[in-house]
C-alpha cells in the first residue's frame, strides 16, 4: 500500500522568526485566492480549511493520516491536510475540491466519478478525486494495477474501488 506523496522538504529559505503558540495571522492562497486567517501554529491545514475558511470539502476521516479523505494539493502535489500544519503552507498554493471545477463546469474527473458511480456516501470522494487527478499528472495510471496501488492511500469504506478505477481510466483514455 502506498501513501500519497507528502511534500518534499521545502527549498532552503531564510530562518523564519519563531511564532506562536498564541494565534498568529497567516495568509493562505487557497484555490487561487489569498485568505488571511488567525491560527495557532498547531492548527492543521485541514482544520484551518474546515473550521476557519468555510471550506468543508476536504473531510476529516481519521486525523491520523491513514484514510486520505483530507487529500488536497499543496503546490500541485497531493498532501494529507490533517498531517500538514497550516502555517507551513504560507506562500504555497493550496487547492481543494472546491477549486477543481471551472465555475459550473465540472472537472472531467468529477464528471467521470458521477458517470461511473464511483462513490456511495460521498464522504471520501473529495479526497479520492484530488488523488485521482494528481495520479494522472504523476503518470501513475498506466494500468489498473498501478492505479490501484497509487490510489490505495484513499480508503473508500463503501468500497467503490472498481468504479473509482473505471473513472480514472475514463479520464485517462479521453485525454
Amino acid at each position: 500500500m502506498s501513501a500519497p506523496d507528502i511534500p518534499s522538504r521545502a527549498p532552503a529559505r531564510a530562518v523564519l522568526p519563531e511564532r506562536g503558540p498564541e494565534p498568529v495571522r497567516i495568509t493562505l492562497t487557497v484555490n487561487g485566492v489569498d485568505r488571511a486567517v488567525e491560527v495557532e501554529p498547531r492548527v492543521s491545514l485541514l482544520d484551518a480549511l474546515r473550521e476557519r475558511l468555510d471550506l468543508t470539502g476536504a473531510k476529516k476521516g481519521c486525523d491520523q493520516g491513514t484514510c486520505g479523505a483530507c487529500t488536497v494539493w499543496v503546490d500541485g502535489r497531493r498532501v494529507l491536510a490533517c498531517l500538514t500544519l497550516a502555517i507551513t503552507c504560507e506562500g504555497r498554493e493550496v487547492t481543494t475540491i472546491e477549486g477543481l471545477a471551472e465555475g459550473d463546469e465540472l472537472h472531467a474527473m468529477q464528471s467521470a466519478f458521477i458517470e461511473q458511480d464511483a462513490f456511495q456516501c460521498g464522504y471520501c470522494t473529495p479526497g479520492q478525486i484530488m488523488s485521482a487527478v494528481a495520479l494522472l499528472k504523476e503518470g501513475h495510471a498506466s494500468d489498473d494495477r498501478e492505479i490501484a496501488e497509487w490510489m490505495s492511500g484513499n480508503i473508500c469504506r463503501c468500497a467503490a474501488y472498481p468504479h473509482i478505477r473505471a473513472a480514472i481510466r475514463t479520464v485517462r483514455d479521453r485525454a
Binding site: D54, E98, D117, G122, A159
Partner: protein, 746 residues
C-alpha cells in the same frame, strides 16, 4: 408518446454533483455561528471506579468553556429500552448512559466532556484532564468468559429467542450417514465508516436542533428527547448527508445527547465529533464470537440435522448478540434443528448491528461446513445446495414470497465459469500460484417496519414535484431512487421530481436499517405520489372545464405530466392546465404504508449465490483475490446502477471480513488492540478485484407495493465463505476462523 418508466433505469445519483464538488454538507460540516467544540475523554481502564478527576490544569488551558463529568453533568431523565431502530421508537444502542456515576464498565467509556472555543483547545484540554481509577479485574475475551456463559431468554432487543428448536436434533444427528462437527472463530469487527460519528447541537430557547450523522433522524430525535426529558416536538434532527454507517449509526449512542447537554451548559452551539480512535469504543461493533456447527446428512448430501451454537460477549447491561443463527436456520430444508445463543457478561459496550448483522457470520459457518460436506461426499458444491433447496421457509413451512435462489446458483455459476473447476484441492495452478474456486449461498431476511411509513408529495403548477420523507442518505442512493419512484407514480419525467429527506420536520420514516429502507420508503413514496395523481385525476374529471370532465378516472392515464384517456390520448390536459385554471399554486397529498397482514403468511428473504477465485502463494501464504461474482435476486431493482454499487460494496465487505478485518481485546488491559485505520485493516483499492454482479429478476407481490427486497446487506452474506472455500480448494486447508491470515496458510 410513451415515456419509459424511471424505475429500473440506471440513473446517475441526483446528489452526485454535491458529492464531487465538496458541496455535500455532512453533520460535522455545519458551522453555526459562535459554535464551540466538545471532546470526549474516555476511561483508560476497562473495569472499576473513577476515584478522582483533576481538571485544574485543563481549566487553566486557554479557551476552555466547561468540563463535564459525573459530578456536574445533569442526570438523564429516562433510559429507554434497547429496541432496534426499525421499530421506530427510541433506539439507544445500549441501556447505559455514561457520566451518571463513577462506575467504569468498559475501556473508552466517556468519563468527561471538555468544551472549548476551538477544536485544538478542546483537544489539548482533554489531554490535561487527570482521571484516577480504582481498577477491578475485567473480562473481555471469549477465552476468559466461556465458563460463565448463559442462554438468554431473547437477544437483539427481545426480537430473537435465545434458543430455537424444530424436530429432534439429537435423534437426527444419530440417524445421519455423515456427520461434521466444526467450530468457527471470529475476530471482532468495527464498522469504520470514513465519516466519524458527529453531532452539532444548537439550542434556541427550549427548542433543540441536532445535526446528526444517523441512519434515522426520528431515532435520534426520540432517543435524545427521552434521555433529556424533552418532548419530541421540541427536538428537530437534520441529517442530509451521512458519510457511511454500515450499522454504527443505526442505533443512537451517547454522543448526540452529550452534545445537546454540553451546548445547553455553555449556552452556545456545540459540535462533537468522535475521533477515529473513539469510533472503536463508542458506536458498537460486531462482537468476537465462536460458532459450533454439528451437521448430519444422508449419503446423498441431504441435511437431516443441524445444531448451531454461538458463544459471544455482551455488555454488563444488555443481552445482545448479532442474530447469526437466523438465515443459517432458514436456507436449507432440514427437519431437525437446534440453535442456541450463549452470552457472557464482559467489559465492553453493547455490540450492535454491523452490515449483514449475524447473517455474515452465521452463513460463514454454515457455508464452509456445507463445502466440507460436499468435499467429503464428492458432490459438487452447487449440486449439494440444490439438493438441499427448500421450497418453503423451513422455520414456518410458509411459502417464500419469491425466491430466485436456483437461478442465482445457475446464473452465478455460468458467469463465473464454475464448470471449469476440477474438484480436487490444489488442482489448479498459475505459475507458482495455487488457484482455488469457491462458492456459497446467500440469504438476507426482508424486514418490515413496525409502524406506518409516511411520505408527502407536492405538485407545483409548473409541473414539477417534490416528494418528502424523513430518511437520510448515507450512501444508499435513496434520494435518487425515490425520485424515480415518485416520477412513475405521478406520471412525470424523473428530472421534474425532487426528493427531500433527512429532517424530522418531514413525514416520518423509521431508521433505514436491515436492508428495509428501499422497500419501506418506496412504499410510502409510491403511496403518497399515487394518491396525489389520483386526487388530480379526480379533480380533472369533476371539473366542467376540463377536457376529461365526466370521464371514468380509471380510464385516465398520466404521461409526462399530462392526464389523458388511455384509449383516446388526444383527450386530456396537463397537471399545470388544471392547476392554473383553478388558482392552485400547488397540490399535495400524503401517504402511509405498513406491511400487509398477508405478508405474515410468507417467508420473505432475498437470495443470492457467491463465487470467488483466489490465488495463494504456497511459500509465502499470500492471498490475492482474483475475482468475485455475485448473483442476487433482490426483487424489483429501482436503479441498477446504485443497486450494483451497493451489492459490489457488500461483496468487498465480505473480502475484508474474510482476509483483513480483525480486532482483539488485550485480556490483560481490557482494551482493543487496534484503534485506527493503520492497524484495523479494511480493504483498500489494491485489495479490491473487479466485481461482477448478476441481477436475477424476481417479482414479489407480497413484500411491499413495488416488490423491493433490498440490496444493502445481501452482497456480504456468503462472500467470506466463498473465499474461504476457494482457499480450501486452492490449498487443501480448511481454515475455520475469520479473518484468514497468512499464518493460517503456511
Amino acid at each position: 408518446m410513451t415515456t419509459a418508466p424511471a424505475v429500473g433505469r440506471p440513473v446517475d445519483r441526483v446528489d452526485g454533483r454535491h458529492k464531487v464538488t465538496g458541496g455535500a454538507h455532512y453533520s460535522a460540516d455545519v458551522r453555526p455561528t459562535d459554535r464551540a467544540h466538545a471532546v470526549l475523554v474516555g476511561a483508560r481502564v476497562p473495569s472499576g471506579r473513577v476515584t478522582g478527576i483533576d481538571t485544574d490544569e485543563a481549566r487553566q488551558a486557554g479557551g476552555v468553556l466547561a468540563i463535564l463529568t459525573h459530578e456536574n453533568l445533569p442526570g438523564i431523565a429516562t433510559q429507554p429500552p434497547l429496541l432496534p431502530s426499525l421499530a421506530g421508537m427510541p433506539a439507544p444502542g445500549q441501556t447505559f448512559f455514561p457520566l451518571q456515576d463513577e462506575v467504569v464498565h468498559y475501556s473508552g467509556q466517556p468519563v468527561a466532556v471538555v468544551v472549548a472555543d476551538t477544536l485544538e483547545r478542546a483537544q489539548h484540554a482533554a489531554a490535561l484532564v487527570r482521571v484516577t481509577y480504582q481498577e477491578t479485574p475485567s473480562v473481555t475475551t471469549v477465552a476468559q468468559g466461556r465458563d460463565d456463559a448463559y442462554v438468554p431468554d431473547a437477544i437483539f432487543g427481545g426480537f430473537v429467542p435465545g434458543r430455537s428448536v424444530r424436530g429432534d436434533v439429537e435423534a437426527g444427528l444419530a440417524a445421519a450417514d455423515v456427520r461434521i462437527d466444526a467450530t468457527y472463530t471470529y475476530a471482532a469487527n468495527h464498522h469504520n465508516p470514513i465519516e466519524p460519528a458527529a453531532t452539532t447541537a444548537v439550542w434556541d430557547g427550549d427548542q433543540l436542533t441536532l445535526y446528526d450523522a444517523t441512519q434515522g433522524v426520528a431515532a435520534t430525535q426520540l432517543t435524545v428527547a427521552a434521555l433529556l426529558g424533552l418532548s419530541p416536538s421540541k427536538v428537530r434532527v437534520l441529517s442530509h448527508f451521512v458519510g457511511g454507517s454500515f450499522g454504527c449509526k443505526a442505533m443512537i449512542w451517547a454522543h448526540p445527547a452529550l452534545a445537546a447537554l454540553a451546548a445547553r451548559h455553555v449556552g452556545r452551539p456545540v459540535k462533537l465529533s468522535l475521533t477515529r480512535e473513539q469510533m472503536f469504543t463508542s458506536v458498537g461493533h460486531r462482537e468476537e464470537q465462536e460458532q459450533r456447527i454439528e451437521l448430519g446428512a444422508d449419503k446423498e448430501g441431504r441435511l437431516v440435522a443441524l445444531r448451531h451454537h454461538k458463544l459471544s460477549p455482551t455488555s454488563p447491561f444488555d443481552d445482545w448478540a448479532e442474530p447469526s443463527l437466523g438465515v443459517a436456520s432458514q436456507l436449507y430444508a432440514c427437519a431437525h434443528y437446534e440453535g442456541v445463543y450463549r452470552l457472557f457478561r464482559a467489559n465492553t459496550m453493547t455490540p450492535t448491528f454491523m452490515r449483514a448483522p449475524g447473517e455474515a457470520s452465521g452463513m460463514f459457518a454454515l457455508e464452509c461446513t456445507m463445502d466440507d460436506l460436499a468435499h467429503q461426499l464428492g458432490i459438487d458444491p452447487v449440486e449439494l445446495r440444490l439438493r438441499n433447496y427448500s421450497e418453503t421457509d423451513p422455520t414456518t413451512k410458509n411459502p417464500w414470497s419469491s425466491t430466485g435462489l436456483k437461478e442465482c446458483y445457475a446464473r452465478g455459476a455460468e458467469r463465473f465459469g464454475w464448470h471449469r473447476r476440477r474438484p480436487a484441492p490444489r488442482s489448479h495452478r498459475d505459475g507458482d500460484w495455487l488457484i482455488g474456486y469457491g462458492m456459497a449461498a446467500a440469504g438476507y431476511p426482508v424486514y418490515g417496519p413496525n409502524n406506518p411509513q409516511r411520505a408527502r408529495a407536492r405538485l407545483y403548477a409548473d409541473g414539477t414535484a417534490v416528494v418528502q420523507a424523513a430518511t437520510p442518505d448515507f450512501g444508499t442512493g435513496v434520494a435518487t431512487v425515490m425520485t424515480q419512484v415518485a416520477a412513475d407514480a405521478l406520471g412525470l419525467p424523473w428530472e421534474r421530481c425532487r426528493f427531500e429527506g433527512g429532517d424530522t420536520a418531514l413525514p416520518g420514516i423509521a431508521a433505514a436499517v436491515g436492508s428495509a429502507g428501499a422497500g419501506m420508503i418506496s412504499a410510502a413514496v409510491h403511496t403518497a405520489a399515487a394518491r396525489l395523481r389520483d386526487q388530480l385525476v379526480a379533480q380533472a374529471v369533476a371539473d366542467s372545464q376540463s377536457p376529461l370532465h365526466g370521464a371514468d378516472p380509471a380510464a385516465v392515464t398520466v404521461r409526462d405530466g399530462r392526464m389523458m384517456l388511455r384509449d383516446a390520448p388526444a383527450t386530456g390536459e396537463t397537471y399545470g392546465d388544471l392547476l392554473h385554471r383553478n388558482f392552485l399554486p400547488d397540490v399535495e397529498a400524503s401517504g402511509a404504508w405498513s406491511p400487509s397482514p398477508e405478508s405474515h403468511h410468507y417467508g420473505m428473504m432475498t437470495f443470492g449465490a457467491q463465487f470467488a477465485e483466489v490465488a495463494v502463494d504456497p511459500d509465502l501464504g499470500v492471498v490475492r483475490v482474483r475475482r468475485m461474482v455475485g448473483a442476487f435476486a433482490p426483487g424489483r431493482v429501482l436503479n441498477p446502477k446504485t443497486a450494483r454499487s451497493q451489492l459490489m460494496g457488500g461483496m468487498l465487505w465480505g473480502l475484508g471480513q474474510a482476509l483483513l478485518e480483525a480486532n482483539y481485546m488485550d485480556p490483560r488491559r481490557g482494551r482493543w488492540v487496534a484503534s485506527g485505520l493503520g492497524d484495523y485493516l479494511v480493504p483498500v483499492n489494491a485489495d479490491a478485484p473487479d466485481i461482477e454482479v448478476e441481477l436475477v429478476d424476481v417479482t414479489d407481490d407480497i413484500v411491499n407495493p413495488l416488490g423491493v427486497k433490498g440490496v444493502g446487506e445481501i452482497g456480504q452474506v456468503g462472500a467470506a465463505a466463498a473465499l474461504a472455500n476457494a482457499l480450501h480448494h486452492a490449498t487443501g486447508r480448511r481454515v475455520r476462523k475469520l479473518p484468514v491470515t497468512i499464518e493460517d496458510l503456511l
